[in-house]
């Protein structure tokens, strides 16, 4: 039975390589692919569910038109006709900007660019800028180090101290737990900093649980102690760091006791962390995305990064700032985070709105107002902040087209639903923001029934729209496997290390890869040094030149609890929750709270509660967590409203201080025992 090499194209650190066994066009099983040294044991629970997902009875397999609230099967000809009529009408009547093209991170790959090509040919549409996930941290890293890259994942084995700060790899990047465990077996210490006691912290030596949004002051207090104890790396600082003196001076105003009161970590624990970081080398600091999804997220990330910088833990074996590794994105002309920024791509053509405030911005748009939306690879109704505003904005539109595999909350709002391919039904090339490989996602079976890959949908639309043939040829490959292969080969052939044939054999290390990032001490900042003091920070984002702690908005007494909406191992954002196997293990969303917060509200384990704030409300079951820092409510993101509720019913659309990220975690709520619903 043939085994095909492929890769999981989800928006996930791990980007696992795996092999799929196919028999007479049918997928049989999934096997591990050990050529990828970062994911040698195979994919996680989600990747292993692909076989079930591929043949799910819930999959959308035909174009569906909504009529009186019901979806009815229609032919592709009819679907194309409907789309063409709408596209022509709105462009003529209101201009092409009355159409919004919204694509998110549901499936990565180079072919996604073709969608944008189509909308450019159409005349330019309204799109979003920014990102829901990680740009505050990306921008902070870029300001400081000049680039987003880190050591290869297995290098963590060489660390003597590992600090997971706001990251929970046991659920969001399970393969990272392997080198962490190996390092621990060799005697490394593991510190976790998170208001929750996550599965990643169970084998840790130290778990610090700061108040939400105060990570920066904790980091600055630690920096102050390290410098006071004379444990900073003076040689490294002198050679490679700009602004150390200014940074050091700025710490004078910080008192350890004051910092302790602010972040809720006792002084002895701050001391312990400072001693560990000050005396244990090499250290790999692994910041997650959790602590940067705040309105002070960019500055917070700069404060954390300062710890790696002043201790010289950059550019060496086992010493690393392990945030994002974009080294395998060899084909991108504009890398993240810049590719998210307004005006960086398609300046004249595009009208952009922030994805962090999607619903609100859609509703506010004038001249022209939005009339139509096209959504692919995304489920904005559950995943963007302020679901209520997003739903309202979608309901207000005249016409919504959604390309989807399943009946998500967003798909339910469609007037026309188009079936989407799975990863097994079209080849593509996928990079990773964690592991260092370029990988080929191979087509291993034909799309079932009436499923067409997006490239094919766009090809037909372009033809039927009457776009110039030469233009189409340059922008959209013909709907054949050969044309797709040729299109991908255009990218691949620029690198002698890569070829389509070689990629079929397994993952290939990214051309130009630095296994130990920054080992050449070459920093692409304006000064060529690591910039603790960054003029760019002031110029681009109007924040302080130095890493600073900025408290979040004054607490609102009506809503005293922080709402955290982290990721669970059982889904990647809003995908996979509908698989029967996963549903059996994780049937419904719950809100985890501390028994202290429960007791004073007369709430018991298993009770149904109402979580609410001025944005909205959510009814949900309570699970007591006896190791959670009091003052927090945790609801995993990704649950659909139709299965019990997304935490984004409660989040406010707000951008992070830098990078146009989304400050999900600024959200405050109150909870009460439910009386109705």
């Amino acid at each position: 039975m043939p085994l095909y090499n492929t890769v999981c194209p989800r928006n996930c650190y791990s980007t696992c390589s795996f092999k799929v066994k196919v028999e007479e066009g049918k997928l049989i099983s999934i096997e591990a692919q050990d050529l990828n040294k970062s994911t040698p044991e195979g994919p996680c629970i989600k990747g292993l569910s692909y076989i079930e997902r591929q043949y799910s009875p819930d999959r959308i397999l035909y174009p569906l038109q909504k009529h009186n609230g019901q979806f009815n099967r229609i032919s592709w000809d009819k679907a194309f006709e409907l789309i063409i009529n709408k596209l022509k009408y709105y462009k003529d009547q209101y201009g092409s900007h009355s159409v919004m093209y919204y694509a998110s991170s549901g499936m990565s790959g180079l072919l996604n660019g073709i969608s944008a090509n189509f909308w450019r040919m159409y005349g330019g549409v309204t799109t979003v800028y920014g990102n829901l996930c990680w740009p505050a941290g990306l921008e902070a890293t870029k300001l400081t180090l000049g680039e987003n890259k880190h050591n290869i994942p297995t290098d963590i084995e060489n660390a003597k101290l590992i600090v997971l700060w706001g990251k929970n790899p046991a659920e969001s990047n399970i393969h990272q737990m392997v080198p962490i465990e190996k390092a621990q077996r060799k005697g490394a210490k593991l510190v976790v900093i998170d208001p929750r006691r996550t599965p990643s912290s169970e084998r840790a030596d130290l778990l610090l649980q700061p108040k939400s949004g105060t990570d920066a002051i904790l980091a600055l207090a630690v920096a102050k102690l390290i410098i006071a104890n004379n444990q900073h790396d003076k040689n490294f600082i002198q050679k490679h760091v700009k602004g150390f003196d200014e940074f050091s001076q700025s710490l004078e105003s910080i008192s350890i006791e004051g910092a302790s009161a602010e972040c809720g970590i006792p002084v002895v624990f701050i001391d312990e962390l400072a001693t560990l970081i000050g005396t244990t080398k090499p250290m790999t600091l692994v910041p997650g995305y959790g602590m940067q999804r705040f309105s002070n997220g960019g500055q917070t990330t700069r404060c954390l990064l300062a710890l790696s910088v002043i201790t010289g833990n950059i550019g060496k074996k086992g010493a690393c700032w392990h945030y994002a590794n974009l080294q395998s994105y060899v084909f991108d002309s504009v890398k993240e985070p810049e590719s998210y920024y307004p005006g960086e791509l398609d300046k004249p053509n595009r009208r952009t709105i922030p994805t962090a405030k999607l619903g609100e911005s859609m509703l506010k748009l004038i001249d022209p107002e939005l009339k139509m939306a096209w959504v692919e690879r995304g489920n904005p109704i559950t995943q963007n902040p302020d679901s209520n505003a997003t739903i309202k904005a979608f309901k207000k539109l005249d016409y919504v087209v959604v390309v989807e595999q399943f009946m998500t909350d967003t798909a339910q709002e469609a007037d026309l639903l188009l079936p989407a391919k799975t990863l097994f039904e079209q080849s593509d090339i996928v990079g990773s923001y964690w592991n260092p490989y370029v990988q080929l996602k191979q087509k291993v079976c034909e799309p079932p029934k009436q499923v067409k890959p997006e490239t094919e949908i766009y090809y037909h639309l372009a033809k039927k729209m009457g776009f110039d043939d030469e233009d189409i040829k340059n922008n959209i490959p013909e709907p054949t496997d050969e044309a797709i292969a040729t299109h991908l080969n255009e990218y691949v052939k620029k690198f002698e290390e890569l070829s389509m044939e070689r990629l079929k054999q397994g993952p290939i290390l990214a051309p130009g890869l630095e296994e130990i990032a920054f080992s050449d001490a070459h920093f692409k900042t304006p000064s060529g040094k690591i910039e603790l003091y960054s003029e760019q920070a002031r110029k681009r984002w109007n924040i302080d030149e130095l890493p600073k702690y900025l408290p979040l908005d004054k607490p609102d007494e009506k809503y005293p609890l922080f709402l955290m909406s982290p990721n669970t191992k059982n889904r990647i954002h809003s995908q996979f929750g509908n698989c029967a196997t996963i549903k059996a293990l994780d049937p419904m969303p719950v809100a985890s709270i501390s028994p202290k917060d429960a007791k004073c509200r007369n709430i018991k384990h298993g009770d149904r509660i109402k979580v609410y704030n001025s944005q909205g409300e959510l009814y949900i079951k309570v699970q007591l967590d006896y190791s959670m820092r009091p003052g927090n409510v945790v609801i995993f993101n990704g649950y659909w409203n139709q299965e019990g509720g997304s935490p984004n019913l409660l989040t406010k659309g707000r951008e992070t201080d830098i990078g146009h990220g989304t400050a999900f975690h600024d959200t405050k709520v109150e909870i009460v025992k439910a009386t109705a619903k």
Partner: protein, 432 residues
């Protein structure tokens, strides 16, 4: 003996459940219980206490109790791989193996009416591949090996008294305590261990056919022991046979596959279920012969009845691990004896026996009354004993006496079924 075995490293497992899904993908959807499951300690995440996971399916034990005690001989060992394999079309669905296995490996599938379980991925092993769960563990915590292993060694902290020599090697935690954390954050938090509701394997309501059947066994045996003139009336004989027939029908009702009932006597060598069915059959057959054909020595009937009662009690032995006293007040043998003394009007012995049983009942209940929903049953049970005593010496209404006595016995037996419980790794590692 095959040396194939699982290896599980607690230091590496983060509870991701990929092994569960790997098994489902390989072996098909499993409902309501997956063959492999993750059990976590400290599920409330009590601060300061460690939390670890165990991934368990079938451990293909050398002395596999499921196989040894299956009344229908529905298990076999694979010569080539050492796997303990379940033969679906031999299974009668009595679920007895689910009581016997300390690792909770056999899972009852109500749709099929049979149990099903991990096969060690035998077909993969024969092809030289590892079991699916072990080849797809993302952290490498679950693995497989065919290196020699001493299966007799007590494994880790699965505190099961009898070790059936499982084919698994568990690597214990290197770091026994949880992460160091600021415990002052959690001062004043009190925790009650989660109620282990999911572990209760039976309740009287669900098992009513068995409840009635076992009480019938006690009654019939008592009637034979008593052997009054009453017994030799044709009319009474027919009642006896009638009750016996109802019992026989009821005893099949709890089987998932009733049409394979005949297989239940195939394992007389080890299975108390097989013996129970055999003794019940013999008891009824000999009684029939006695009633309608020719006289049988009375001691033979008494012996058969006693053996029947004992085999019923022995059958429930594996489920008694949680009880404080090894003898339950509602063992069928005790009930049969009580009925006999009652019928034969041996008031003194009857009061002594009932007194002992009451003491057993109270001893068992002391400290367990936390469950307030069950206090009513306790009160009624105790009241019925005293009412029976009172009525016994008042000589007022015979019917009232019989009803009071019978009600008490039924309540006690209901409690017996409600308290049946079998060891599961889930219970065993939840010790704080």
């Amino acid at each position: 003996m095959s040396t194939n075995h699982f290896i599980f490293d607690k230091n590496k497992c983060v509870g991701c459940e990929a092994c569960v899904v790997a098994c489902v993908t390989e072996n098909g959807f499993q409902s309501p219980d997956q063959w492999r499951s993750i059990t976590s300690s400290n599920q409330l995440k009590v601060a300061g206490l460690p939390l670890f996971h165990l991934s368990m399916a079938c451990n293909h034990c050398e002395d596999a109790p499921c196989m040894k005690y299956c009344p229908a001989m529905a298990f076999k060992r694979s010569n080539k791989t050492g796997a303990v394999l379940h033969i679906e079309n031999h299974c009668i669905g009595c679920k007895y193996c689910t009581w016997q296995c300390p690792y909770d490996a056999p899972k009852f599938n109500p749709v099929k009416g049979t149990v099903e379980k991990c096969t060690f991925c035998e077909s993969r092993l024969l092809e030289g591949q590892k079991p699916a769960c072990t080849s797809l563990c993302p952290t490498g915590a679950l693995n497989y090996s065919s290196d020699p292993i001493n299966k007799g060694i007590v494994q880790d902290d699965l505190k099961v008294s009898k070790y059936p020599k499982p084919s698994i090697k568990i690597k214990d935690l290197q770091k026994q305590e949880g992460p160091k954390m600021d415990l002052s954050l959690f001062e004043g938090e009190e925790f009650e261990p989660l109620e282990i509701q999911s572990e209760v394997r039976s309740n009287a309501l669900k098992e009513w056919p068995l409840l009635v059947f076992t009480l019938i066994v006690a009654l019939l045996t008592a009637l034979q022991l008593f052997k009054s003139a009453f017994m030799d009336h044709r009319f009474a004989n027919e009642i006896f046979i009638g009750i016996g027939f109802i019992g026989a029908v009821l005893s099949t009702l709890h089987l998932g596959r009733k049409e394979r009932m005949w297989r239940s006597i195939l394992n007389l060598r080890y299975s108390w279920l097989s013996r129970e069915i055999l003794f019940f059959g013999l008891f009824m057959a000999v009684s029939l012969v006695h009633f309608y054909l020719f006289d049988i020595q009375h001691w033979i009937l008494v012996c058969l009845g006693t053996l029947l009662c004992l085999s019923v009690d022995m059958l429930y032995q594996p489920a008694q691990w949680k009880w404080k006293a090894k003898i339950h007040s509602a063992q069928i043998t005790l009930i049969a004896l009580s009925i006999t003394l009652f019928l034969s009007e041996q008031a003194l012995f009857f009061v002594i026996l009932m007194g002992i049983r009451l003491l057993l009942f109270v001893y068992r209940k002391v400290g367990v009354i936390a469950d307030k929903k069950k206090w009513l049953l306790i009160v009624f049970r105790i009241a019925s004993v005293f009412a029976t005593f009172g009525l016994l010496f008042q000589d007022q209404s015979l019917w009232l006496l019989v009803v009071s006595f019978a009600l008490g016995e039924i309540l006690d037996r209901i409690d017996f079924y409600n308290e049946l419980n079998v060891p599961k790794p889930r219970v065993l590692i939840k010790a704080y």
